[in-house]
């Protein structure tokens, strides 16, 4: 049960990750990284239950392939945090870049502000592994494309207009997306449907609303009392009718 602080100023990501792995091997339960400035791959492939607190802006692929740890970022994150992540939690007190939660297979990613393009793209689930991406702000185009499982929730806390980004969930064949408020009728991509979420649906996402509110010190009542649009696949076999045999 020990806490270790690493000053990341001027350290390249490979030695930084080595120091993190060493700290985990030495039994650290919490690692505080100070002065992080764009170092990529923090927590990449890391296994265990350590908590990593990042002060600064981590670079791309934060927590990629990660299995178990919790990463809390006090700052923004770059490209693809939670990429192909397996287990654990990433909490970002800020915004994150494109392909956030790309191909994620388990664990949770919470982003306080906005995310870039292709968020939650090709997330998938298997048995008890169900990845969750919760975003306080909004998301750019191609959110949840090719989704094969998992859950994406978009609160759009600063937006009142209907969601209006193209390619929403095109090719989705598993999982679901909740967007607070409504979406423009042209946003859902091929293979997806958008419908008003039922009270049972909202009951299902309630634990994640509560968790989000707790991390970012937000009053959950407004989020709980809002209406949501649920985007879901039309079929688990989107390409079944596209081909004929030679």
């Amino acid at each position: 049960m020990s806490q270790i602080t690493i000053d990341a100023a001027g350290i390249h990501y490979t030695p930084l990750n080595k120091q993190i792995r060493q700290a985990v091997r030495d039994g650290a339960s919490e690692i505080i990284l100070k002065n992080v400035m764009g170092q990529r791959f923090i927590g990449d492939g890391l296994i265990g239950s350590v908590k990593i607190v990042i002060h600064g802006v981590p670079g791309g692929d934060l927590g990629m392939f990660m299995k178990g740890p919790t990463i809390e970022v006090f700052g923004n994150a770059d490209h693809a945090p939670g990429n192909t992540m397996d287990e654990g939690t990433i909490i970002i007190h800020g915004a994150s870049g494109d392909a956030t939660a790309h191909s994620m297979r388990g664990g949770k990613v919470f982003v306080r502000d906005d995310i870039g393009y292709r968020g939650g793209i090709h997330m998938k689930q298997y048995l008890n592994k169900r990845p969750v991406l919760v975003v306080g702000g909004t998301a750019k185009a191609f959110l949840g494309e090719y989704m094969a499982g998992g859950l994406v929730i978009l609160f759009r806390m600063k937006d009142e207009e209907p969601y209006a980004e193209m390619g929403l969930a095109s090719g989705i064949h598993g999982g679901e997306i909740f967007i607070r408020g409504t979406v423009k009728e042209w946003t859902p991509g091929i293979g997806s449907t958008a419908q008003l979420a039922s009270s049972e649906d909202i009951e299902r996402i309630k634990p994640f609303i509560m968790e989000f509110s707790q991390y970012f010190n937000v009053d959950p009542s407004e989020l709980l009392n809002s209406s949501y649009t649920r985007i879901a696949p039309v079929s688990a076999r989107p390409f079944a009718g596209k081909y004929t045999w030679e």
Binding site: T14, K18, R40, F41, G45, Y126, G171, A240, K242, W245
Partner: protein, 503 residues
């Protein structure tokens, strides 16, 4: 509008004088061609795909299969295939899908290249009595080695070496996923490569736990679907391969149909049973050559820089420039898959019309990397249509470090290249998940065949090298002087950087 029946593609005839009504054909045909009735075996010839399982099991040679028993009017442009494709698309409005590799009659460049042998002026070597070095290392080679003198007068290497794969023969088995092919097929190949001292690819289907005993001989693949990829999977592999493209279908993704996603495949791929397994066309975290570098490094960071990382691309027009980019991405090997590469299923239009042959791609990539002084940064692994040991030798002469075989390994296990892998009914137990069919392929026996094939090719390769007076594979690599082009035009000779016969 009804186009009506087309002529059956095959005619199956059972010779009643030979047939002893044992019923093995009925039992063995997974496509439902045969049934026993009172007056003997009756055939539904239209169901036949010419997989020859019946012929292989018939104790009396009673079965004959003939192709195209009923002809169309012959025509050089509007061939039977062209007409039938149009019929199918006129009826369905859909994309035509086919199994196995390129089926268009392009000339095969390997067959227009001939190898050299020694006569008089320099002696050939007999591999029976001279050592032949076929051991191959895949991975980065340092540009130079730096040593220091230690205090006790010894020298010590200070250059940091990167991990390489050590192959006892420059022949590996390429990536065919569990899902596309059966677990018994995977087990057989894994056993064979382990015994030989070479490697095989997992394909994009994850690594089944039955293969864990062979994990040191497996190259684990990370493709755009990221199926079965977690940190343990990465740690298990001897190397990691990022699949960008495939020779049989450059530029497009893959869809394993839900029918093939059974309980075991679902577990290995980590997706729900019966769901389509969709690999998007690009990796959605790689939209540029800089992003590729990020994925390469992320895999190295995740595995603490202990594993070589390969990048596999389809051979396309600008393959050399793309490979040069890959060589600068930190990757340890570039795998080039030519347009004759196999597949379980691909749109026929891609399979037959997109990409370039492996021979030209190897030559172009090797030349480009040498010109840029970065040939040592990556090994070149060539695949796609390697049919025999001569192709291996020629590929190495053109500049490859090693080859991947795919279809040839399947043929060693009984595959007849019937091209209907996508039906999931493979009577040989290779491209199927149906338990009764999979059980037909005995892993130990099939492993023996695959090992025999690679052993035989390795022996032939040693003989070819010996005949050329070469005793190390290193001296064959990129040795285009030992090739000559036969009936190739000057442009092609220039691309291959090979002289014409007699020159």
């Amino acid at each position: 509008m009804i186009i009506g029946s087309r002529p059956a593609r095959f005619q199956v005839v059972v010779d009643k004088n030979q047939c002893m009504l044992c019923g093995r054909c009925v039992e063995n045909c997974s496509y439902g061609v045969f049934r026993i009735e009172q007056d003997g075996i009756v055939t539904n010839t239209r169901n036949c795909v010419a997989c020859h399982r019946c012929i292989s099991q018939c104790p009396r040679d009673a079965i004959t299969i003939m192709e195209r028993p009923c002809d169309y009017r012959s025509h050089p442009v509007w061939t039977a295939q062209m007409k039938e494709n149009i019929f199918k698309q006129a009826e369905s409005g859909k994309i035509l899908l086919g199994g196995m590799g390129n089926a268009a009659p392009y000339p095969i460049l390997f067959d227009h290249l001939v190898l050299d042998a020694c006569q008089v002026t320099n002696p050939s070597i007999d591999p029976l009595r001279e050592p032949m070095e076929l051991r191959t290392y895949i991975g980065k080679k340092p540009k130079q080695l730096e040593y220091i003198q230690t205090s006790d007068g010894d020298t010590s290497l200070i250059t940091e070496l990167t991990p390489n794969l050590k192959l006892e023969t420059p022949i590996m088995i390429g990536h065919m996923s569990y899902g596309a092919i059966s677990l018994n097929a995977h087990k057989a190949m894994a056993q064979a490569v382990s015994e030989i001292g070479t490697f095989m690819g997992t394909g994009e289907g994850g690594l089944h736990e039955a293969l864990y005993p062979y994990q040191d001989r497996m190259i684990v693949q990370v493709a755009s679907g990221r199926f079965g990829v977690d940190v343990h999977y990465l740690e298990r592999g001897a190397a990691i391969e990022i699949k960008i493209g495939q020779g049989a279908k450059p530029g497009i993704g893959g869809h394993l149909p839900g029918e093939k996603v059974c309980a075991d495949v679902s577990c290995t791929r980590m997706i729900p049973e019966g769901s389509d397994a969709i690999s998007p066309a690009p990796h959605h975290d790689i939209y540029s050559i800089e992003d590729l570098k990020q994925l390469v490094i992320s895999l190295k960071e995740a595995t603490e820089w202990k594993k070589p990382v390969f990048v596999k691309i389809a051979a396309v027009h600008n393959v050399a420039a793309i490979a040069a980019g890959i060589a600068r991405s930190g990757a340890d090997a570039v795998v080039i898959d030519g347009f004759r590469g196999g597949t379980g299923a691909a749109p026929a239009v891609f399979r037959d019309h997109v990409g370039i042959p492996i021979e030209a791609a190897i030559a172009a990539v090797d030349t480009k990397l040498r010109k840029q002084g970065i040939r040592n940064e990556v090994s070149i692994i060539a695949s796609g249509g390697i049919r025999q040991s001569a192709d291996v030798a020629k590929a190495i002469c053109l500049g490859a470090d090693a080859v991947y075989i795919g279809t040839a390994a399947l043929i060693a296990m009984g595959c007849r290249v019937c091209g209907t892998c996508y039906r999931g009914l493979c009577s040989w137990g290779i491209a199927t998940q149906r338990p009764d069919l999979v059980a037909r392929l005995h892993p130990d026996e099939a492993a023996h065949n695959v090992k025999n094939l690679i052993d035989a090719w390795t022996l032939e390769l040693a003989e070819l090298m010996g005949a050329a007076g070469i005793n190390s594979i290193e001296s064959l690599r990129g040795n285009r002087d030992r090739l000559r082009g036969y009936m190739l035009d000057q442009t092609m000779l220039d691309v291959l950087d090979v002289k014409a016969i007699g020159a």
